[in-house]
């Protein structure tokens, strides 16, 4: 090797008031490799990447690129040094073309005019070289998620990046797109680019990376290679202890049907079928799992059940009573609890105090309400109870929800829904984006609620969670239930193949 590493961090530390986001981080990325950085949410991956990309300045430590010490004050300086970042959330202008998006901010000029032709030529050239094929004149709004990601990658390559940081690049992709992305990554590596790949999907990391650095509690706990570890060992490095398991004990399923959905269909405004003939039952004491890659109708299914899509057809009954033409408020009061898939979008009022957040969805009932008034005292007491029982870490119940970590926000949401004692609880991605510790706590609460006779509809993309918790699993693919599976007889691999539509034939 002899040469200096492409990127080397030594003793990098970053403190925020009250928290050390990064502590003595050591990271050595060899030239032309794919180097994965894994860790739980809150382990300090994001802060580290922001430091490398010049968005955050470290308090201590050195960063070297090709052996030379650097100190970036802005992302601009990092870009000039050949570092490019592809964010998890795309930063593209939908109504501009691929070409316009790529050159935005670094337009090639001839005189006072923008030289579109040479830019288009370069984009085609980059696309062909790395298997990132795109039509420069297509509008971004018409692109799929995978194609948008390609635009982002081309964008950083166009600016001359040699070291690419990909932040959770597969989180938004379907399996086929993941394969394409990996092929492009290998092409880039072959052409001498270095890729830093941030992820918490361990199987993918093991498949693509040359080296893997694990972070925990703001520190780098070690660097390894895929040949030395398996996913389980890697996960244990991440959490520093044995893995918790979502597994439920014996069946608690009762005869009584709490939620019955029959022939549920839904069309989008443009006439596209979003849900097609969905039917299932949730019994008391049962967890019914819905598996599926994001975007196959999960959101629409939840929205239809809670009444946000009144145009859906078919039948939904709660504890024997039809929900036809019943507005959301009355459905929630009749006993539908909701842990939304995206807590920031549907579950929280970030600037409002915790006790107001605890009331959300239950604001019409005791102890949160008293007649037409909000019962502030009752609400605060209930919130304190949630904080105690669900171990929400917070100084008090008056801080804004925005002040809590993701895991604690999620525990608050889970707590308020379970404490409200719903007939049926819809738990959509209940452990998404939270620490393994908080994850285990949420699983435990769901199991307790199930044992107490609650009906739970568990919608998740986490296959181990689904298999471990569910009594029955339905597979949702392109708006239809394509298979009904018994979790006792299934592996994540088989479930995964159903989720891509491959197992459809076998199921019927």
């Amino acid at each position: 090797m002899g040469e200096a590493p492409a990127l080397q961090l030594e003793g990098v530390t970053k403190r925020y008031p009250g928290v050390v986001a990064n502590k003595d981080v050591e990271l050595t990325v060899v030239d032309s490799e794919i180097h994965a950085v894994v860790g739980e949410n809150g382990a300090g991956k994001s802060t580290l990447m922001k430091i490398i990309y010049g968005m955050v300045r470290p308090d201590e430590g050195t960063i070297r690129i090709d052996g030379e010490q650097v100190s970036f004050r802005t992302p601009k300086e990092a870009i000039d040094a050949g570092i490019g970042m592809v964010h998890q959330h795309f930063m593209l202008a939908d109504n501009l073309t691929v070409l316009e998006n790529v050159i935005l901010g670094s337009e090639p000029r001839s005189g006072v005019m923008i030289d579109f032709d040479s830019a288009a030529e370069r984009i085609r050239h980059l696309g062909n070289a790395y298997g990132l094929r795109l039509d420069p004149d297509q509008k971004v709004e018409s692109l799929s998620v995978g194609e948008r990601q390609r635009v982002e990658i081309i964008k950083v390559l166009y600016r001359g990046a040699r070291i690419l940081i990909l932040d959770e690049p597969t989180a938004v992709l379907v399996p086929q797109e993941v394969t394409d992305l990996f092929r492009s990554c290998l092409n880039l590596k072959g052409e001498g680019h270095t890729i830093i790949f941030i992820s918490h999907k361990l199987d993918e990391v093991l498949a693509i990376a040359d080296h893997i650095t694990v972070m925990r509690d703001g520190q780098t706990v070690g660097t390894t290679t895929p040949s030395e570890v398996d996913a389980r060992q890697l996960a244990e490095m991440m959490i520093g202890s044995e893995l918790p398991s979502p597994e439920t004990r014996e069946s608690t399923v009762q005869e009584k049907v709490l939620l019955r959905v029959a022939d549920l269909s839904l069309q989008s405004e443009t006439g596209r079928s979003e849900l097609d003939g969905i039917g299932f039952e949730v019994h008391a004491g049962e967890i019914v799992g819905v598996a599926g890659v994001d975007g196959n109708g999960q959101t629409q299914l939840v929205d239809s059940i809670i009444g946000l899509r009144p145009e859906s057809t078919g039948e939904i009954t709660l504890d024997g009573a039809s929900l036809k033409d019943i507005p959301t408020r009355e459905r929630r009061e009749a006993g539908i609890g909701l842990i939304p898939e995206d807590r920031h979008r549907q579950g929280l009022l970030l600037p409002s105090p915790l006790w107001e957040n605890a009331a959300l969805g239950h604001q019409a009932k005791e102890p949160y309400a008293n007649g037409i008034w909000i019962d502030k005292r009752g609400a605060r007491e209930q919130t304190e109870e949630i904080v105690r029982r669900f171990d929400v870490m917070t100084p008090n119940v008056d801080v804004p929800a925005a002040a809590l970590s993701g895991g604690n926000q999620q525990k608050l949401v889970v707590g308020r829904e379970i404490m409200a004692g719903p007939v049926v609880l819809i738990a959509a991605q209940p452990t998404r984006g939270i620490d393994i510790g908080a994850q285990a706590a949420v699983w435990e609460e769901l199991k307790t609620a199930r044992a107490a006779g609650m009906g739970i509809l568990l919608i998740s993309a986490d296959l181990d969670e689904l298999i471990g918790l569910s009594d029955t699993i339905h597979v949702l693919f392109e708006g239809r239930f394509v298979a009904r599976l018994d979790p006792a007889e299934i592996t994540p691999e088989i479930l995964g193949s159903y989720m891509t539509g491959a197992g459809e034939k076998k199921a019927s």
Binding site: I306, R345, G347, E356, A359, I374, A402, S405
Partner: protein, 372 residues
């Protein structure tokens, strides 16, 4: 927490005021006027008993207007249509009120009801446009302001104008049973004697009731919780069972009803008829007062009093040959400065609160605002 609230509610507006008067002073210096003398004149003229009474009178319609705007702001609705609503509501109220004479309290109540009803109807139109057709309320309410202006002028000149030829063109005089009496006798009990011409409007009591009702409705009631949730996070609010369309209609109706009452103080406390030169701009200035008072009733009361005071005290400026437009400039800068200073301070306070929570629980917060 405590010091954070003090910073945002007291310190922010004070800093903004200092900035605004400072910038205005520079403007005065530019035209060779000593700002200190100008401000001294305003202060000494503005603090006489008569001036203070008129300050309060001036503040009343602004306060009600700010309430109308503020309740919309609380759920992220921008009702710019208060201006048109109050003009047309005052015209109808004046006309209907002049048609009969009953017991004073009933008569005044009837007039208030007409005004609130007309105002609510005027706001119902943009609400329906938004709910049924997705027309943004800013667009429709601005357009409805023009319509209200033209419609009220037409109705005034062709339908509601009094037949009797007087010195001024106006609607028929409302019988005395429909007037809101002055509070000067009550001031007299406290030994405050005001010259004739400076009558403290009785509407002050109604305005106070409205302010308290606003506080309970917005901050204490379930309706207010739904309203504020919709303002903070509409998708979360609708998942929690708030019907967004119904919320828009109800809020606009309340906002419109309040808007309808904006013109009542001058109408029933001073003119007792709708004259051709019925005062304008309460609706637009109400937006500024709502911003100034951060949609909080006490804040808006102070904001309205400040505007009322500046409006009154500016009258002296012409006499000492200072252009009184300087006051309009100050009003504009105050609003801008408050918005900016408040934003800066509340960000600072938020960061501190969040950092304190993170320190207390030893976790990193999960919020876009912090990540940025």
């Amino acid at each position: 927490m405590k010091s954070g609230r003090l910073l945002t509610t007291v310190v922010a507006p004070l800093i903004a005021l200092v900035i605004a008067f400072g910038i205005a002073a520079l403007a005065l210096l530019l035209v060779d006027i000593n700002p200190i003398t100008a401000y001294q004149e305003m202060l000494s003229f503005g603090t006489s008993t008569e001036s203070l009474i008129i300050t309060v009178n001036n503040a009343l319609p602004l306060f009600v207007s700010a309430l109308a705007v503020g309740i919309g702001f609380k759920m992220g609705l921008f009702n710019i249509g208060v201006e048109g609503a109050y003009l047309i509501a005052a015209l109808f109220a004046a006309y209907v009120g002049a048609q009969f004479s009953i017991t004073p309290i009933l008569h005044v109540s009837a007039i208030l009801l007409v005004a609130a009803g007309v105002g609510a109807f005027w706001a119902w139109m943009p609400a329906m446009l938004k709910v049924k057709r997705g027309v943004h309320e800013v667009i429709s309410t601005i357009m409805l302001n023009y319509i209200a202006l033209a419609l009220s002028a037409y109705l005034f000149l062709n339908v509601f104008r009094a037949e009797t030829a007087g010195l001024t063109i106006a609607t028929d005089l409302i019988p005395e049973t429909g007037w809101i009496p002055s509070l000067n006798p009550i001031l007299g009990w406290f030994g405050i004697e005001a010259r004739a011409g400076a009558n403290l409007h009785g509407f002050l009591l109604i305005a106070i009731v409205l302010g308290i009702a606003y506080h309970y409705l917005v901050n204490k009631s379930r309706f207010g919780y739904d309203l504020r949730s919709s303002g903070v996070n509409p998708t979360a609010a609708s998942a929690s069972g708030v019907d967004p369309k119904r919320m828009v209609i109800r809020t606009m109706l309340i906002s419109g009803a309040l808007a309808g009452l904006v013109g009542i103080a001058p109408l029933l406390g001073f003119y007792h008829q709708y004259p051709q030169d019925f005062p304008r701009n309460f609706g637009f200035n109400g937006i500024a007062v709502a911003l100034l008072g951060r949609n909080h009733p006490v804040g808006m009361a102070f904001g309205a009093l400040l505007f009322g005071f500046m409006q009154r005290s500016s009258l002296i400026l012409d006499l000492v040959s200072v252009p009184k437009e300087i006051v309009t400039i100050i009003q504009g800068i105050v609003v801008l400065a408050v918005v900016i200073v408040y934003e800066v301070i509340s960000r600072y306070v938020n960061r501190r609160v969040i950092a304190a929570a993170a320190a207390a629980t030893d976790t990193a917060p999960d919020a876009p605002a912090v990540a940025a």
